[in-house]
């Protein structure tokens, strides 16, 4: 780990100015991923700008039912907030399915969104990785890829985004509020991360210096239910093999409104638009849910050892939507 400067930012604008001015600068919040990557040599910043105090750590529920989440809100606090726990169980369940209690107490919402892939080659600087070292190659395509992507990958990179929270946010139509040198803008969480294509090193749509300051959750219609399901090797402290977040509103036996996102299958939380399209107006039955999942997963391009993610994602989708339709999870 090489030496670096550390600066504590007083406010978001100051943080943006400090990072934008220094090409080797990185934002530091909870540090649960960045510090690990620095120890591994994957990240070697010259300057860390600590935004843990500059960013808001409050959760505000608007009169219309929308929610604004400060980017410095800790994962455990977000999971416990009534506006999340009661109204958006998908998000609460996703957060609590991730990491460990200790990590959730430290990790922030902004940092969680921007955490990096756990692909073993990305984390090992003695090996090639196009994401870390463009043009060096991707050993995962032929190597250890059981945990890696089946959707939206390229022959340059098959990484997955590891966050549980982001999958739920994508299904909840969350937007990230981004402050940059040119001012403030919003980016849908489902579109925050890029697919690898020929440039896997460009992981998000953010520019250097851009800072996520808040996450906005729109109001949910009164009849909508949400939930999150995650499959993993062990019962706790394991990244997803596959996960599904959904928001579902059923009227008179038919799907009135649905939002569906898959986790651990792509380099971003995978908003399943094709499945959503297939479901709108369809009977809220297991058969419809399976057909919709199949329609989405028709685009899957599994590798040698991760084909299981196709039936796994499909089964998780059917079960979650069935449970939501039956009111088992509200």
């Amino acid at each position: 780990m090489k030496g670096f400067d550390y600066r504590r930012a007083g406010d978001p604008a100051g943080a943006v100015a400090a990072v934008a001015a220094a090409p080797g600068a990185r934002y530091l919040a909870g540090g649960t991923n960045l510090v690990d990557l620095m120890k591994l040599g994957v990240e070697a910043p010259d300057l860390l700008v600590d935004v843990g105090r500059a960013l808001d750590d409050r959760i505000e529920e608007g009169p219309d039912g929308s929610v604004r989440i400060g980017a410095a809100v800790r994962n455990s606090d977000l999971a416990a907030h009534p506006a999340v726990r009661r109204r958006r169980p998908a998000l609460s369940q996703a957060l609590l399915a991730g990491a460990s209690g200790q990590l959730r107490n430290t990790a922030t919402v902004g940092g969680n969104l921007l955490q990096r892939t756990r692909c073993p080659y990305f984390q090992d600087i003695t090996k090639p990785c196009n994401r870390r070292d463009p043009g060096s190659g991707c050993p995962a395509v032929e190597g250890a890829h059981r945990d890696l992507a089946i959707l939206g990958a390229s022959d340059q990179c098959v990484a997955t985004h590891p966050s549980d929270m982001a999958v739920a946010l994508a299904a909840l139509d969350a937007e990230a509020v981004v402050l940059g040198t040119a001012g403030q803008r919003t980016v849908p969480v489902a579109e925050l991360h890029r697919l690898p294509g020929d440039h896997p090193e460009r992981e998000t749509v953010l520019e250097h210096g851009d800072l996520i300051t808040d996450v906005l959750l729109p109001a949910l219609p009164p009849g909508a239910r949400s939930g999150y399901r995650k499959a993993r090797d062990r019962a706790s402290y394991a990244f997803a093999l596959a996960s599904v977040a959904a928001v579902l509103e059923v009227r008179e036996g038919s799907v009135h409104r649905v939002a569906l996102a898959f986790g651990a299958v792509a380099a971003r939380p995978w908003r399943a638009r094709t499945a959503e399209e297939a479901l709108r107006g369809a009977p809220a039955t297991a058969e419809s849910f399976a057909r919709a999942a199949d329609a989405e997963l028709a685009a899957a391009r599994p590798l040698r050892d991760n084909g299981y993610k196709v039936p796994l994602t499909r089964n998780l989708t059917v079960r979650l939507l069935t449970d939501l339709a039956e009111g088992a999870s509200r």
Partner: protein, 702 residues
Amino acid sequence: MSTTSSRALGTPLRRVEGRAKATGTARYAVEHSAPGAAYAWPVPATVARGAVTAVHCADALAEPGALAVLTHENAPRLREPQDATLAVLQSPEIAHRGQVAALAVAETLEAARACAAAVRVEYAQLPHDVVFRADHPRLYAPEQVNAGYPTDRERGGFDAAYAAAAVQLDATYRTPPLHNHPMEPHATVAEWDGSRLLVRDSDQGSSDARRTLADLFGLDPEDVLVVSEHVGGGFGSKGTPRPQLVLAAMAARVVQRPVKLALPRRLLAPLTGHRAPTVQRVRIGADRDGRITALAHESATCTSTVREFVEQSSVPSRVMYASPNSRTTHRVVALNLPSPSWMRAPGECPGMFALESAVDELAEACGVDPVELRIRNEPDAEPDSGRPFSSRGLVACLREGARRFGWHDRDPRPGVHREGGLLLGTGVAAATYPVYASPCAAEARAEPGGGFTVGINATDIGTGARTVLGQIAADALGVPADTVRALVGRSDLPRASVAGGSSGTASWGWAVHKACRELRLRLDRDHGGAVPPGGLTVTADTTEDVRAGSEYARHAFGAHFAEVQVDTGTGEVRVRRMLGMFAAGRILNPRTARSQFIGGMTMGLGMALLEGSTVDPRFGDHVEADLASYHVPTCADVPDIEVGWIDEEDPHLNPMGSKGIGEIGIVGAAAALTNALHHAVGHRFRTLPVHPDTVLAALGAL
């Protein structure tokens, strides 16, 4: 053989160092401050086979705080070690990826990391062969296998008996590479004082560490002190001295300061040993009632090119079941991989996964209850040697375990017990582990101010050894346990064997018992039962007692029962309950014993469902390099585990009447779980670990 009277033994005393550990005041190796200490950080080789052609150190030495970079060119020369993995930085040859190619030493831990990162090593790379296959063309028969067992054993005529058998079972089982991953990494602080060497080390036996250092550096063993006061687990990987011990001592000599070296987690896999993968073919011929007439257990595994270590997986089939015709063999191939070594119950652990799975399959083929089938094949004497058993509690464990578990209510049909989207199943498997003991020395002292002290260089790796030795001493002296202090974990105490082979308590306790009985005798005979003004110290050595051996076959036995649930949508397996019944001689401390059994069973759960390392054929290393990717069970994975034992009175063991308990808990646990999985879903899982993807594939294929 005299036995102890029992007051302290058999009582569930708490660990004497428990409070110190829980409050953080117990110090582990590198937590000891050494004034002026420098820090070392290894530079691992990035090729799987080849030679170092150049080490460029200029940038590294220019790092702030850098003190030295040790390479094969400048490192102190060592005498040739018995264990070739300890010949660190002695030649340019690279035998596996991750081997130490250089060692950076600097003022601080951070500076050492930076210094290591700046070392540039050039290699001449050679083609490597790292893929283990049971039909590998270079497979060979070793001279012997681990723990000195014969490679092959043949009794009767297996081939003819198998061919003639009414029921034939032929199945192949696979276990993956497994890593020990103790919580405390392998770590050492080394400090020279002239020609004297003081070391604080995390190991399972500092008498071995002292002898190794003396040998390698050409020192008088009296000039080497190794302290291993508290050790945060080892599971076998600290059972022999590991490279960090030698590296720290070398570095301390070079920089002439104390040096601290704690291996980073990512280097535990390449540098500290692992359980090698196995492919085991088991063939059983039986009559229609399930009586075994022919048994073959043929194991293949791999080792490194540096040191031959052959997991003795077929050995338990020489012990478990009566069969007039038997063949047990081992084959191994040397690959360009890190060296395998001891991991909890080497041999028995993977071997009993295969055998106990096969026996379950046989029971199904014969339509006989698997508990009953095992009882039907109970031998009169140890099958392979013909020697009588000193005690054999397998049947008692099976019967009592079945009763407590509610086994007999079980519907044996597989794949029929549903609960919503879950399939449920129960399974059973047997366990066995040999009784080992090694010669040790111990001293016992009556203190003039009252109380007693016993000293032996035993190692408490978290098992409660210190506590139990005090109990043994108390009973041998006939005094209350709280008047006895047990000193362990220093090589200037009387020499002791390694905390391995489940032999610690037997070996150390024997010596402690002998010293205490002698002390009691002398106090009573020469001093009228009083302590003389200067105190009285007695030493004892059990070399002759242990070497006398026994005409008996001595083993602990056990039975595991398990219930699992399988999520038919995700393939996720969760364990609902586990019950282990053990017959392990006399249980000396029920509290620490229960922890040992539960720990072993938990590790068996990990083996069945979670743990496994993947060799990357391109790079030649194990992919899972941290505890986020190498999955050991979390609390959420571990169900209600019930442990019980059969009280055994076995006069042929040692003065305490104990058998080892550190390893038998893992033996058979995985098979009980996969047998339960078969019962749940109707598919045989013969390859470990059983992950959700495997289960999904099986469910899809059903």
